[in-house]
Every structure is written in structure tokens, then in C-alpha cells.
Amino acid sequence: MKYTLYSFIIAAIFLNSCTTTHYALTKSNREEYAINDKISVDSSVVKTYLPYKTAIDNEMNKVIGYTDVALVKRSTLPESVLGNFFADAILNQAKKIQPNIDFAMPSTNGGLRNDVAKGAIIVSNIFELMPFENETVVFNLKGNDVLELLKFIASSGGQPVAGLKMNIKNNLPENIFINGKEFDINKDYYVLTSDYIASGGDDAKGFANPIGKKVLGLKIRDALLKEVNDVQLEGKKINTKLDGRITKN
């Protein structure tokens, strides 16, 4: 009897110790490290990327122009210096291929991926501003589809545009001027955008039922590179300003 009891206890102990170990979460401590020049450098990483870097540095570090102003996206207004530069540049270059374009929204604000600092502009600045391989596309849109697009621009608080002037009131567009003329919903318009936006990217509206469309064969990034180059060839510097093309009152 005694023997049986001991066996039972031993068995119980044995079984108990075979149960899985569990863990109760008792504490969490959090920290965030800034990755800056106070941190040392892992030379093995540099060694890994150096051949890649060397192979593209010549092309990427080439100075192609200058800007007298910092081209920045941050803005308290419905327009930004970077957005204006971007849209003006694309419209200008696209018009060299198709002159009858009325206005352009070549990107959303979300598509402007990096600021360009004041001073020399190198190729890599433009790649970082516009890393995507998107194409310029001209859409022939009916007036009511244009209005859909303008409503999208207004409801999203303004987007990079050129050739368009309007005010945003209660999240709706008003006082609309396209290519210098008052917007007429009964007319159709030639609108420049990117293939990304046209396919519904960033939820842009108005491009679903065009009268017609034409891919220009000019990548957005190439248009930017050309524009910076052209300004440089004219002996000028980029000097984009906020000009009240989209206001909010």
C-alpha cells in the first residue's frame, strides 16, 4: 500500500515536471535609437555596397542644374514649392511633345518622394524625388470627368498641378481656371497625368471613361531630368514660387 502511494506521488511529480513550461509576460521596456553619426560604421556593410555605389556614382552624382530655392513638399497651403516645380516641369516637357495639353496633375503629393535641397541638383536628387518608372499620359476628358478630378484635388486638400487655378471651399473646387480660361463643364480638356494615377492610383478620380488617351513615351522622371537640364542650358537657375494656383478659403 505504502509502495503504491509512493509510486503515485513519484508519478505525479514526474507528470507535473513533464508539462510544458509557459511564460507570463511581465514587463516590456522600449527604446528607439537614432541612426546618426554618433554610431560607428560596420565596414563589412560598406564593403558590400561599395562596388554597387562606385558603378553608379558617376552617373548619379553628375550636376545637371541649380535651384535658388529649396524644393520642399511640406506646406501649410494646398500648394507646395516642390509640387509646383514638379507639375510645371512635367507640363512644360510634355507640351514639347503635345502642345494642346490644358493642364497637368502628373503626381499626387504622395508621389513626391523626396525634397530637393537648394543649390546644385544631381541626377540622384531627381531619382529620389521620382523613383518610379511611371509614364506621362494625356487624357482627353469630358468636362464632367474633369470636374471629378478637380473634386478629388479639392477633397484631398490640393495636389501638384500646372495650368490649373482654383479655390477650395468646403472641400469642393470653385473659381476654376484652366489654361487661363474659366472652366466650362460642356467642353472637353486635354489632361496630363501618369499611368499610375490614371489607373486609379492614390484613389484619383476622373480618368475611368476618357474620350481618348495617348501615352507620350516620356517617363515622368526623364521629363524632370530634361527640365533641370534645359533650365541649366538656358543659363538659368530653378526658382519655383508659391503662386496661389490652389488656394483654400
Binding site: 507535473n16 511581465t26 514587463k27 522600449r30 527604446e31 537614432a34 541612426i35 553608379i56
Partner: protein, 315 residues
């Protein structure tokens, strides 16, 4: 939120004491609890690194001089030298942002992540920028897992390349990690995501997190999310996900490039803590969360009180 962050220490000790009593019977146990040792797990994380191999150039721009893989790697090595149990995780958008991606298609980004010892990432929308094939092509350079639970990729080149979740074992701890991606429609050119099917993030997250916690008995469940931290409208975000799910301890977020001053602790459907963190973008920061666990040998019990949270490390 405040009451969540305050630990109910007395309650905890009481519960802990009960567990301790159960253990006292376990005469031959030579386990970690008998040694009174807490298990510590260190989570390191990034998101939206966007091909930022080198620090931002010193050109007067806002982020000049910040970030850089060589520094991140040195810091990670230092932490690994000090900590036994480290998981290094990323929340997607590895690709796109510098000429390194345009010229090399993400090869260098993935190689360096492998060299740094990343354990897992999820798919961000920009990881589709060279199409599904473009991502697939770089996978031979990856020695980490790509986790995504709410995309069905069976009709794509990635059909055998991702997993919904993975369970990592560190010093007896089971850490379940899964991935949740953003809706690609309207965000990614349809030709780039092809036949990827998107499923409701909340449904999938609940399904996977429940399996990880209750069937696989993970001690910690982490969601790598590329949904975005929060939105002005009702669009699903990490905040929405956290509040509408159970069994997720930590959401490592991305997409919105959000710099959180401190991680956010949200009360989830179970009334438990789901922590959300996101560390900006471009590798400007490295996030770290140390979790401490108390081991016990018994049937799984629920500790009802919130655990202690500090926004600094133990010295």
C-alpha cells in the same frame, strides 16, 4: 490608456504567488523558474527603409546625414553582443527610393538585410514596384522569411515564397510572427500585383493570431503590418487593427512613415494590451522593445493584470 499602462502590481504578485505555490510541489524541477530567472527577448525593428543604403546626403535637406545600413548594422551587432535573444524584424517597403533600387532592383537591399540577420519581413506596397517577378527575382539573396497572411499569392510567382506566419523559438520562448498587407488596389499598378488576392486584415489577423496564441501556444504574438498607423477616415489602420483583434501583443507597423514619440498601447478586444510601434522611414531609427517573461510549469493560466511598461531600457 493611462490605466492600462499602470501595472496593478499587487494583483500581479498575488497571481504570481499562486503559480509559485503550484510549483512548490514540483520537487525535481530544475527549471528557470527555480532559478528565479526572467526570460528576456529583444525585438529590433525597422519599416519603410526604401532602399536607403547610405545615409541621406549632406545637402541641407531635412534628413541629411541620417540613417545608413553600415551604422544600423554596427548598432545591431552591438545589441546582439549584449543580448542573448534577439529578433530583427521589418514591416515592408524595403524597395524603392534611391537609385540603388532603380539600378539593381533591390538586390543590395535584400543582401544587406540578410547580412544584418533579419529574421522576417512582410510585403509593403512598394515591394511590388518591379512587379511580383521583380520581388521574386531578389529572393535568392534573402535568408529571412517573408510573412504575409492576408494576400493569396497562389497564382503568382511568389506562390511558394511567402508564409502567413512563422514561430521563432528563443530560449524556450515561442514567438509567433505574422504579416498583414495593405489593399493593393488603388495603390499599386494592377499589372504589378497581378493575381494577388487581398483579404480583410482584421479577419485574417484574428484568425492567425488566435491560432498562434491558442493552438501553437506562442508566448508572444507579433504582427508585421503594412496597413499604416492611422487615417483620418475609417480606413483600416494599425489602430483599427489593434482595437478589433485579440491575441496580438505587438504590431510593428509601416507604410505611413510615422515617427511615434513612444509606442502606443491600445486596449484590444480582450481588454489586453496591443502595442503599436513604427519608427519613421529610411532607417532613420531602429526600434527596440525588450520583453520579460516569467516562466512557470503548469497549465496555461491567464494573468489578468497588465504587464509593466517602461519607455526606457533597464540599465
Amino acid at each position: 490608456m493611462v490605466e492600462l499602462q499602470k501595472i496593478n502590481r499587487r494583483n500581479f504578485i498575488k497571481t504570481g504567488g499562486m503559480v509559485g505555490a503550484a510549483f512548490a510541489l514540483n520537487l525535481n524541477s530544475f527549471d528557470t523558474f527555480a532559478n528565479g530567472r526572467l526570460q528576456k527577448l529583444t525585438i529590433l525593428h525597422t519599416n519603410d527603409v526604401h532602399s536607403r543604403i547610405e545615409p541621406f546626403p549632406m545637402d541641407g535637406s531635412r534628413n541629411q546625414g541620417l540613417g545608413g545600413t553600415a551604422r544600423r548594422s554596427a548598432l545591431i551587432k552591438k545589441i546582439r553582443a549584449e543580448q542573448e535573444n534577439v529578433l530583427l524584424l521589418d514591416a515592408g517597403d524595403i524597395f524603392q527610393g534611391t537609385p540603388y533600387f532603380n539600378k539593381y532592383g533591390g538586390e543590395l537591399e535584400i543582401k544587406l538585410m540578410s547580412a544584418m540577420g533579419y529574421d522576417a519581413t512582410t510585403l509593403g506596397n512598394h515591394d511590388f514596384d518591379n512587379g511580383i517577378e521583380g520581388f521574386y527575382k531578389q529572393l535568392p539573396h534573402a535568408n529571412f522569411d517573408v510573412l504575409i497572411a492576408n494576400y493569396d499569392l497562389k497564382n503568382t510567382a511568389l506562390q511558394n515564397s511567402t508564409k502567413p506566419f512563422k514561430i521563432f523559438k528563443k530560449a524556450g520562448l515561442k514567438i509567433g510572427v505574422f504579416g498583414i498587407g495593405i489593399e493593393l488596389k488603388g495603390l499599386v499598378d494592377p499589372k504589378n500585383y497581378g493575381e494577388t488576392q487581398y483579404f480583410d486584415p482584421i479577419l485574417k489577423a484574428n484568425e492567425v493570431a488566435s491560432a498562434l496564441k491558442n493552438e501553437y501556444h506562442c508566448d508572444l504574438v507579433i504582427c508585421l503590418s503594412h496597413l499604416g498607423y492611422k487615417y483620418r477616415d475609417a480606413k483600416v489602420s494599425d489602430q483599427v487593427l489593434a482595437a478589433n483583434t485579440k491575441n496580438i501583443d505587438l504590431i510593428i507597423g509601416g507604410h505611413t512613415h510615422s515617427f511615434l514619440e513612444v509606442p502606443e498601447d491600445v486596449k484590444n478586444l480582450d481588454g489586453q494590451i496591443t502595442t503599436i510601434n513604427q519608427v519613421g522611414f529610411a532607417g532613420i531609427n531602429l526600434g527596440r522593445i525588450d520583453y520579460y517573461f516569467e516562466p512557470y510549469k503548469n497549465k496555461k493560466i491567464k494573468i489578468g493584470t497588465p504587464y509593466q511598461i517602461n519607455n526606457k531600457l533597464d540599465v
